[in-house]
């Protein structure tokens, strides 16, 4: 996909944010109203993600030389994004703990899920009980949902790297199409690397912080 520098940020980002929020709310409303059997939902989610990532790849491949040039220039920044995302998330976890009366150590643990709500909730639930497990689940869902809805705005105000940081581990899957749609196709690889590094860190960091 051709994307001139001036076109990297699309002009109708607020409208995109609204549509994304509406799609999510429509899903929540439907779930509340109808008692659906969601046994197959994960299969559909996976299929949609596969198709999305494939389409993003098509855009990247068709403009490969230009995008590789941009990535070479961004090399160092690409490494810094996951590092700063970890630091920022842990600082935020401690602050949230102080604000809500939860122990700062628990705040660190909950923040180190980086949006990967299924895995972090299971690990936290086993160690700290069902209530904290549910909080880990909810906190990381909140992070993912907030990232999805706010990414178009974050891209416009702070750029693609900051948008990638907001997504945490989910930059590798659910948030990647939102990032590339708002920031441009050249952000697919940085998002994949940052989200991938953070996803690998979750199963290491959550148990490590639990043992502090």
């Amino acid at each position: 996909m051709q994307c001139a520098p001036g076109m990297a940020v699309y002009p109708q980002e607020e409208r995109l944010m609204l549509w994304l929020a509406l799609a999510l709310l429509a899903g929540v409303g439907t779930g509340l109203l109808l008692h659906l059997d969601l046994a197959r939902a994960d299969i559909y989610v996976r299929a949609a993600l596969l198709a999305l990532v494939f389409l993003i790849g098509l855009g990247l491949g068709s403009d490969w030389k230009r995008i590789m040039g941009i990535l070479r220039r961004q090399g160092f920044e690409m490494m810094m994004t996951p590092l700063l995302t970890v630091a920022g998330s842990l600082i935020g976890g401690v602050l949230a703990g102080l604000l809500t009366g939860i122990a700062w150590r628990t705040g660190l643990v909950l923040a180190s899920g980086f949006g990967w709500y299924t895995l972090s909730a299971v690990i936290v639930g086993e160690e700290l009980g069902a209530r904290m497990g549910t909080l880990a689940f909810l906190a990381n869902i909140v992070r993912e949902v907030l990232a999805i809805v706010c990414i178009p705005w974050i891209v416009r105000r702070a750029g693609g790297a900051a948008a990638t940081a907001s997504a945490g581990a989910t930059a590798v899957d659910v948030c990647m199409p939102v990032i590339t749609r708002s920031a441009g196709p050249e952000w697919a690889v940085p998002a994949f690397i940052s989200g991938g590094v953070l996803s690998l860190l979750v199963p290491v960091l959550v148990p490590a912080l639990l043992s502090i």
């Binding site: 549509w19 969601l38 920022g88």
Partner: protein, 89 residues
């Protein structure tokens, strides 16, 4: 993550082989991306709305989860933004 890497690789490969065809279908790809993102979010919402356990925990854990999810996001964005601004400045 492996299957995502495969899908991305397959897309990049096809895009490198057939750049003209992909650029011609750019409009369609954008529409498809939009529809798929909306479908993904709808499915995510559906899962949240159908999960009675999560819904029943919301009144007691809602504010805490908002802080625990929101502040790490805000601090990450701020750090990366400050870093990129400093590099550019």
């Amino acid at each position: 993550m492996g299957w995502l890497l495969l899908a991305l690789g397959a897309g990049i490969g096809l895009g490198v082989i057939l750049p003209k065809a992909v650029q011609k279908g750019e409009g369609l790809i954008r529409v498809l991306l939009g529809v798929l993102v909306a479908a993904l979010l709808f499915l995510m919402g559906l899962k949240i709305g159908s999960d009675r356990e999560v819904l029943s925990a919301l009144p007691s854990l809602g504010i805490k989860s908002l802080a625990m999810g929101g502040l790490p996001l805000i601090c990450s964005v701020l750090l990366v933004w400050l870093y990129t601004r400093r590099r550019k400045g």
